[in-house]
């Protein structure tokens, strides 16, 4: 008999958001931790059910904003006061009120960039390959189906028991996902 490729985990498919949410809660209650759920649109309760709470995105954005703000003002201050001071229209070198608009714009720019790029980084995107795509029907996760996955590396994972457990949550089907 052919050698089976190493197992990544099990994937259960559900019809409705409510179903997958219920399943996720139970799995988490069961003590499974290497869980993930997949939905065609964001479901706040789902991530809570999986025990996800804090995210670092706001922090990244804050830091980006501070860098943009300070850097933006200093760039102008340096240019006008230290780097090449000039008498422009009789205005003082440090015409700080005139520097505010650019300071503001740079604050927003850097914050926004760090927000989006930070989100990608934390999500590990771009990710050209992921085992879950092996599941034949997983394409529907971006249309109208909801999935719950439990990875083989989970300490409580046991192929038979876990499949049994998942079947109890009356999914449409449960499939093994190879690496």
């Amino acid at each position: 008999m052919p050698v089976r490729p190493p197992l990544w985990g099990l994937l259960a498919e559900f019809e409705t958001p409510a179903a997958v949410l219920h399943a996720a809660r139970c799995a988490h209650a069961q003590g499974y931790r290497r869980l993930d759920a997949y939905s065609p649109f964001p479901i706040e309760e789902l991530s809570e059910a999986l025990g996800l709470h804090s995210t670092h995105v706001p922090l990244v954005v804050l830091l980006g904003g501070i860098v943009g703000c300070v850097g933006g003002f200093f760039m102008q201050y340096y240019a006008a006061v230290i780097g090449y001071p000039m008498n422009v229209g009789g205005k003082p070198y440090n015409s700080w009120p005139a520097f505010i608009p650019i300071t503001f714009e740079l604050t927003v720019l850097i914050a926004a960039l760090s927000g989006v790029l930070g989100m990608f980084a934390l999500n590990g995107l771009p990710m050209p390959y992921h085992p879950v795509f092996h599941a034949p029907r997983f394409a529907l996760a971006t249309r109208d189906r909801f999935f719950l996955s439990i990875e083989a590396t989970d300490p409580r994972f046991d192929l038979e028991q876990t499949r049994e457990f998942l079947m109890k949550l009356n999914p449409r089907e449960v499939v093994e996902v190879p690496h």
């Binding site: 999986l50 926004a112 996760a141 971006t142």
Partner: protein
């Protein structure tokens, strides 16, 4: 939220809307049918002859732009009508006009998001696209109107052997930063918002090319709950950042005028009244695009009369703000007892450019008054006409501000007249061609409606009525 019914949720704005308000999405759609309908425009449906005709026209106008730019670079800005005293003309008018149009996109996607206006969902995607293309058009003009465009980079802060920097007190440098930031953030917003739909297209696409391209663009998105969480957070913060940005950008643009001491420019009312004007013209442009679109692609179910009505209302409101701006300008001229200001105001209304002034009043002040009537707000045709009028009116407004203030300023000895040459017009019309061309490409190759956000508006998206926490017992 718990007691919320699908009906009310579907209407958004927590049921405050009267029961006879049309829904955001016509009932009867499922995740699947809705997804297929939108993605089919890109993936399966054959490209209509109308699209090809439109594209042919737009791209030939784009060629006109290319030729005008070529001639401009070869010969100089002298081919335009600009002179002394009117050293700014069409170019700056078009710049402000395009930038203004851009604002609606960001406003819809950011501010309305923060205000939980679900109805925005079906229009924000192409409104954002419109923003980006409009800003791209806008960006052209300040560049082209330079006497020596090939030295535009002198406006950027880069270390150089001369140790020279831009002159950061100049509103034009503020412009550079504002417009660049605006373009970047809008792009981020647009792209980030599109990733889940790109994933959908990747998974729905029948052709390998489609799978590869959309696959790359989707960056391997798989709708994981963890991702969704961070994604939602980032999108929300981005909206929070974009909101002050959209206000700041047109404020900065208005500084180009307000900071100068020219009578007719030097006015504190400019920032708010420019921002209002921007939103005004922006929504006019959204309608100008949305109304034909929904007809062409049969999207009446997603872009419903509800949307048209709301946009009509916003136009009516911002129209009033703009009118207030006109009023205050005149009032301050009288109240300030500044004879230069007073002359400029009189000269606008009664001077050589009176037809422009009065037609802008007609387009921006009178035309929107039609929107008081529900019949008008609900009739696509009426709205379309008003929207077109407002587009014209807002262009005229900028023209009047730029030209009439310059052509007769302090010293009568240097007064002069201005009018655009054929090259001014060619460049302007060409830029419209470029805008439409880009937009047609967008609706052909990218999802013009945010599918995943629409999904969450469908009744099926509800988590059922059982109280949270004690779900049905686990096995």
């Amino acid at each position: 939220m718990a007691q919320e019914t699908p009906q009310t949720k579907m209407h958004g704005a927590a049921g405050r809307t009267p029961p006879d308000t049309p829904p955001v999405i016509t009932p009867g759609y499922t995740f699947g049918s809705m997804t297929d309908k939108v993605s089919s425009i890109v993936l399966t449906r054959p490209t209509s002859a109308r699209w090809y005709i439109g594209f042919a026209i737009a791209s030939s106008l784009f060629l006109v732009l290319a030729v005008s730019i070529g001639y401009l670079l070869a010969v100089g800005v002298g081919i335009w009508g600009v002179n002394i005293p009117v050293a700014w003309g069409f170019a700056i008018t078009n710049f402000v006009w395009w930038i203004g149009i851009g604002h609606a996109g960001t406003l819809i996607s950011a501010i309305l998001l923060l205000l939980h206006q679900e109805w925005r969902t079906s229009i924000n995607r192409f409104a954002e696209a419109m923003t980006i293309f409009a800003v791209a058009c806008a960006g052209l003009f300040p560049l082209l109107h330079l006497g020596r465009p090939w030295f535009f980079f002198y406006l950027l802060p880069y270390p150089n052997t001369m140790g020279l920097w831009p002159q950061f007190r100049s509103p034009l440098v503020w412009d550079v930063f504002a417009v660049f930031t605006y373009l970047t953030v809008s792009l981020l917003f647009w792209y980030a918002g599109m990733i889940p739909d790109l994933a959908t297209l990747r998974d729905r696409s029948q052709r390998r090319a489609g799978r590869v391209v959309y696959g790359i663009l989707a960056m391997g998105w798989r709708g994981s709950a963890r991702h969704w969480r961070r994604y939602e957070m980032a999108y929300l913060l981005l909206a929070g950042l974009a909101t002050p940005l959209v206000v700041s950008v047109h404020t900065v643009v208005s500084f180009d005028f307000a900071v100068a001491q020219l009578p007719g420019w030097h006015s504190t009312i400019f920032p708010p009244y420019f921002v209002a004007g921007a939103i005004f013209s922006g929504f006019a442009m959204v309608l100008t695009l949305a109304i034909p679109l929904r007809a062409l692609y049969g999207l009446e179910d997603f872009i419903t009369t509800r949307h048209l009505q709301n946009m009509g209302k916003i136009m009516l409101t911002t129209g009033f703000m703009v009118s207030y701006g006109y009023m205050i300008e005149a009032f301050m001229a009288w109240y300030s007892d500044n004879r230069f200001e007073q002359y400029v105001q009189l000269n606008r209304a009664l001077g050589p450019y009176w037809p422009m002034y009065w037609s802008l009043i007609a387009c921006n002040v009178l035309a929107p008054q039609l929107l008081w009537f529900k019949r008008m707000r609900t009739s696509a045709l009426a709205l379309f006409i008003v929207a077109i009028l407002v587009n014209v009116g807002m262009w005229l407004e900028r023209y009047v501000i730029v030209v009439t203030s310059l052509h007769r300023d302090f010293l009568p000895s240097s007064w002069g007249m201005y009018s655009g040459t054929i090259w001014d017009w060619a460049t302007f019309i060409g830029s419209i061609g470029m805008f439409v061309m880009l937009f047609l490409l967008f609706i052909r190759f990218l999802p013009m409606i945010a599918i995943f956000e629409m999904r969450s508006l469908l009744p099926q998206a509800e988590l059922g009525t059982e109280p949270r926490g004690e779900a049905k017992p686990c096995p």
